[in-house]
Symmetry: C2
Subunit: 198 residues, 2 copies
């Protein structure tokens, strides 16, 4: 390349997920050729985000405030608490469902081999919160992986210890999914938990 600053920009773009050398070059050229104002906005937004966004003291999701807007909202149902692994999972549920309760973001899952235990996921704080008595149902929405299931099991016990009713998302054939392409475990589970047609 003819410009050291351009080379630095290409290299810097590669920090983004799924962006290799070719995509990084295309991004850099695109910004310089057609989107300088947008590039400037992205630089400012990035700088502000990495500097000011921390975690909500209540739900652990990303927030630049001590307590995020959802946790601070008077319009949410404080009796329901949905526990997810990541902010992306929380966003997916918020966007796809009409859920109006609160969330708790683990920022991970139990993984003893990686040194991630209950402390790293803030489960002591979650337990204390359940002890406050406001939450009546804890919706456990960890991922259906081995570690996610182990985490769900732990969370279920934690809930019961505090007299909170744990619940889980339903597993089954995805809407619009074809049986032929559904994995065997899911299909077996869906078959075993079939319900009567009404």
């Amino acid at each position: 390349m003819t410009s050291p600053l351009l080379e630095q920009l290409v290299e810097a773009f590669r920090v983004l997920p799924g962006v290799g050398q070719k995509s990084a070059q295309r991004m850099a050229y695109h910004v310089l050729e057609r989107e300088r104002a947008g590039g400037r906005r992205l630089a400012d937004a990035l700088a502000a985000a990495v500097e000011k966004i921390g975690h909500c003291a209540r739900c652990r999701d990303f927030s630049e405030d001590e307590v995020c807007a959802t946790c601070a909202s008077a319009a949410r149902d404080v009796h329901q608490l949905c526990v997810v692994e990541t902010p992306a999972d929380r966003l997916a549920i918020e966007q796809a469902t009409g859920y109006r309760g609160l969330y708790y973001v683990l920022q991970g899952r139990l993984s003893p081999l990686d040194g991630i235990g209950p402390g790293e996921l803030g489960l002591d704080r979650l337990g204390a919160r359940l002890g406050e008595g406001e939450v009546s149902e804890m919706i456990i929405a960890t991922n259906p992986t081995v570690e996610g299931e182990a985490t769900a099991h732990y969370l279920g016990q934690l809930a019961r210890q505090h007299g909170v009713r744990p619940s889980r998302l339903a597993h089954g054939v995805p809407l619009g999914g074809e049986l032929e392409y559904v994995d065997r475990g899911t299909l077996s589970h869906a078959f075993g938990t079939r319900s009567e047609m009404t």
Copy 2:
């Protein structure tokens, strides 16, 4: 989302080519969860690039200096000038070939309907440069599109006007390409310009 700054960051990422809402979210979460230092570097690199990178006065490629390192280099052959449409094309040639001459980047192609004429592509300046007498061969590497071909035709005439020999990249079957999948125009051209085996 729980954070206005995070929403701004997602929106800002969408300025990048091929980045929709989902990818933008993934990028934002990735940076915040795992790459804050890299995000900071990207912000700085972007800000510096959009502010300081202009065009080389000699070849029109991107450069933060008045004249880019390639044009200023004593190691390049000043008798050959390769004309390309974009900085990306120039980079592809530089990376793939052993070419040691100089470049001229049009930053576009002739497109009368879009109001892009010889003036917009700096062809007056290119003509003046050919008139200096240093260049003996002009390698025309515009794209094999209708507009690229029209541009190549114009460039060929411009070269001859100044006593410069114009040349073009060879068209033909890509190395490793299977005849079955080569488009008909290319195959016909490759067949018609076949050469004797030696």
